[in-house]
């Protein structure tokens, strides 16, 4: 059933664009062209995060951190293999894609852990990055309760993600 999801969406977008007399070939190509500069933009950050994570992992720091955090994560129902992802997600978008890819390759794309990781990533945002970006052009210094609320939502989202993956 869900296998038809994406093709159907693609076909309906194409039909809708055709009906609106949008030149589909040129427009699609124009969009696809943006992929290269985007990847060039994010590559340095992906590389930096991946190198840092590899060093942390190799030295045993993440294992130590995971064992430290695992009681909390167990309580919340989040598998301890996802600790890196959950902790890094609010800070870096491209870095968390790197970690997701690692999880996908390590546990297999259709495993429970991987599905949880996908849902967690899909329903969350890089809170600190977004906030810094959006307030950078304003005089706002005191954000009051904005960040705590965003973080609470992220934690609840992660718990929900693991719960929903179990039953769906």
């Amino acid at each position: 059933m869900s296998a038809y999801f994406i093709p159907i969406i693609f076909i309906s977008i194409f039909c809708y664009a055709k009906r609106k007399k949008v030149p589909t070939y040129d427009t699609f190509a124009r969009g696809a062209k943006k992929a290269i500069p985007l990847v060039v933009d994010i590559f340095p950050y992906v590389a930096t995060i991946m190198i840092a994570v590899a060093l942390l992992r190799e030295s045993g720091a993440t294992a130590w951190l995971a064992s430290l955090c695992s009681p909390i994560f167990n309580l919340l129902g989040i598998p301890s293999q996802l600790i890196e992802l959950v902790l890094l997600r609010p800070f870096t978008g491209s870095g968390s894609y790197a970690i997701l890819n690692d999880i996908l390759l390590q546990f297999g794309a259709d495993s429970y852990i991987s599905r949880c990781a996908c849902v967690i990533l899909g329903c969350s945002e890089t809170i600190f990055y977004v906030t810094a970006l959006y307030t950078s052009k304003t005089n706002v210094k005191k954000l009051l309760y904005a960040i705590p609320i965003a973080l609470i939502c992220a934690v609840v989202g992660s718990i929900l993600a693991c719960l929903l993956c179990k039953i769906m």
Binding site: N101, T135, N139, G157
Partner: protein
């Protein structure tokens, strides 16, 4: 923390430091190539969505809702927020940022303290209601998933829940805040 782990590594296996760094940099490069393919497909589709006016339509649909939760009386800002949200929903992250920043500038009252509307905009943008988690699906398909799309439904459900939770918390805290301000004024 990273420096600390380099130090431990030097102590445990000095030969491993450079090879670990180079190995992960190579991994990063292959991931970037994969991402490039994923982006080419999705950005192409999104360009079609944008060009056919679907995002404008979604923005129009969102308008009354935005008026209600932001409590602002400025049609231009409302429009910017509507466009920002609709671009976010469709996964046009790059397109949503300039509009979000422009809306922020208009909401800024110069006092240095975030207003209700500013906090609302930050929380909405950081709970990210996304109808289609395109990059995640793409990476999953590239990793050999048999049904990469089966995360769409759980993602949608949890994103809607966190979105609703975020908005209600902002409204709740906003009410508490104005109550406190009144008490102080008295």
């Amino acid at each position: 923390m990273v420096v600390g782990s380099i130090c431990t590594l030097v102590w445990t296996s000095p030969a491993g430091v450079l090879s670990t760094m180079l190995g992960s940099a190579a991994d990063a490069f292959s991931l970037a190539l994969e991402l490039c393919a994923v982006y080419a497909v999705w950005l192409g589709m999104l360009e079609l969505v944008d060009a056919s006016g679907l995002s404008q339509k979604l923005a129009k649909l969102l308008h009354p809702f935005i008026k209600k939760i932001f409590k602002i009386e400025d049609p231009e800002t409302e429009k910017l927020i509507a466009l920002n949200m609709s671009a976010n929903m469709l996964g046009l992250g790059n397109a949503s940022t300039p509009m979000g920043i422009a809306a922020m500038k208009r909401l800024d009252d110069g006092s240095g303290v975030a207003t209700h509307a500013i906090i609302m905009l930050i929380v909405i943008n950081s709970t990210s209601i996304q109808l289609l988690p395109s990059t995640v699906i793409g990476l999953r398909a590239a990793a050999g998933s048999l049904s990469a799309g089966d995360i769409i439904l759980p993602t949608l459900l949890s994103t809607i829940c966190t979105f609703a939770l975020g908005i209600s918390l902002v409204i709740l805290f906003g009410k508490l805040r104005s109550k406190l301000a009144k008490r102080r004024a008295r």
